[in-house]
């Protein structure tokens, strides 16, 4: 038996199929991953993401510390409530983890949300880097988290929460987050739809989940979460990048704040790689024939002997065909095929995301 979130009993009550996920017993689906996926694209679904790791960064050097720790620049967070996506890199420029940081003045600094499977190494790394800063890190293990996602997510969530939380929700622009008493509400997500990620004390979370159910928000499992994020062109740590891969090669170049004098961990390596020439890039692939692309399948090019590799592949319920992310040679052209069980199947290279707000958007 793994660790269980405060919503475990609620999952069982909704007939969840439970699987091990990084040491946690989590719902993979509640009957049909496809139906849950489509519900998030067309209405509203909710995910238990209580296994995610929340760390508050406070102290007089909180900003300077995060500017050194992260490849994106928290100085961009010009006002309370703004959020930023960033990689946390090692000295070699490899990605230790990807994360979201919210500027949370009311909490005395910043709130950082990192992945569950990387929790221990992240906390060790973050603690190690505090040495020269007046800063303290406090993990918030008593916070559970529900992600409510979909075109109707915000309206339905507002029906399910108290008036003060509903007012905070109404005040949030996309990619902002604010505290509401001991809750923290972010208008963020991992699906490519509008929605919220609501951090709630574990003792209260089951009651909120039931109110959301009553408001017509259906539970969705980690299976749908994966197909939704892949359609949205969002990376999954451990699949699409890891400590041996730089942001340049993981479609995260846009998260690198390199234009000023600020030094951060991994910067020198990133600049050196850029100067040398970045060898691989991450692209989207669409299979216009039948079949499903899977991670680790090889990509073969007409114009190069070098191969690429799929990092995440699935069937896209929205597009009704297979999509994938692949790391491919930077200068091998666009003409390629995927090696599917020994057959070279032509595949189309596209710019991600594949889907945003329920619609096909790739070119």
């Amino acid at each position: 038996m793994g660790q269980r979130t405060a919503l475990y009993d609620a999952h069982i009550a909704s007939d969840a199929k439970i699987v091990d996920f990084g040491g946690w017993d989590m719902p993979i689906h509640y009957g049909s991953q496809l139906k849950e996926h489509n519900l998030v694209r067309t209405d509203a679904g909710m995910f238990d993401v209580s296994h995610m790791t929340v760390v508050d960064v406070t102290g007089s050097d909180a900003c300077a510390y995060l500017q050194y720790l992260l490849a994106n620049d928290v100085a961009k967070l010009a006002a309370e409530g703004k959020a930023l996506y960033s990689g946390m890199l090692n000295e070699q420029g490899g990605v230790i983890d990807d994360l979201i940081v919210y500027r949370a003045d009311a909490l005395g600094g910043y709130r950082v949300v990192v992945n569950c499977a990387t929790r221990e190494k992240d906390l060790a790394w973050m603690n190690k880097q505090t040495a020269n800063f007046e800063v303290s890190l406090s993990e918030q293990p008593d916070l559970a988290m529900i992600a409510v996602q979909g075109p109707n997510a915000i309206a339905k969530a507002q029906q399910a929460v108290a008036a003060n939380a509903s007012a905070v929700i109404a005040s949030l622009s996309i990619f902002q987050g604010l505290p509401c008493e001991d809750w923290f509400i972010g208008r963020t997500g991992y699906t490519g739809e509008d929605g919220l990620e609501i951090m709630i004390p574990a003792s209260e979370v089951a009651a909120v989940w039931h109110k959301l159910l009553a408001a017509g928000v259906k539970p969705a499992g980690l299976g749908a979460r994966d197909t939704l994020r892949l359609e949205a062109g969002m990376n999954l740590y451990g699949n699409d990048m890891d400590e041996t891969i730089s942001p340049w090669q993981a479609n995260m170049g846009w998260t690198l704040a390199l234009k000023d004098q600020r030094d951060f961990i991994g910067k020198a390596a990133l600049l050196e790689e850029q100067a040398r020439g970045i060898e691989y890039k991450m692209v989207g692939l669409v299979l216009e024939t039948r079949g499903v692309m899977r991670s680790h399948q090889k990509i073969i090019f007409t114009a190069s002997d070098k191969q690429g590799e799929i990092t995440s592949g699935t069937f896209s319920p929205t597009l009704q065909q297979s999509i994938a992310m692949a790391r491919v040679p930077a200068n091998a052209g666009n003409e390629c095929a995927v090696d599917m069980r020994g057959r070279a199947v032509p595949v189309r290279m596209v710019t991600m995301p594949f889907v945003r707000n329920g619609q096909k958007v790739y070119k």
């Binding site: 689906h29 991953q33 496809l34 039948r290 079949g291 499903v292 699935t314 069937f315 319920p317 069980r341």
Partner: protein
């Protein structure tokens, strides 16, 4: 708990076999198999008229989660395939024993029927 109808025969690779008499059997995948695969999105079936040997990989089921080979549980000739299933693969999740049969085989080695598992033995093998 996965359903295992008593009137069918089974193989350990999770195909079911229904004896239609006159040397013909119908083959599909079990409830246990569809549940383990999750949502099924593509099914490739063998060609009608092809000769298959027991344990050959002759069809593919792709779910959101994984690709799985389907094996011939018995040797013979493929005399019919369920074309409707190709257009509506989700039926293999919804009704694995009824509408979602895969193919029919005209047996070439009738004695192979004796090696198939009973419902009871298959259910025990799934535990």
């Amino acid at each position: 708990m996965a359903q295992v109808p008593a009137n069918l025969k089974y193989v350990a690779s999770h195909e079911w076999i229904r004896d239609e008499g006159n040397g013909v059997v119908t083959v599909g995948i079990t409830d246990f198999a569809q549940e383990a695969l999750g949502d099924i999105v593509f099914i490739e079936l063998p060609e009608v008229g092809s000769e298959v040997n027991k344990d050959d990989s002759i069809a593919v089921v792709e779910s959101v989660k994984a690709a799985s080979d389907i094996y011939a549980p018995i040797s013979g000739e493929i005399i019919e395939i369920n074309e409707e299933l190709v257009d509506a693969p989700e039926r293999a999740n919804e009704e694995p024993y009824d509408g979602a049969w895969f193919f029919k085989v005209k047996l070439s080695e009738a004695s192979e029927m004796e090696a198939l598992l009973s419902a009871e033995d298959y259910a025990a093998a799934c535990e």
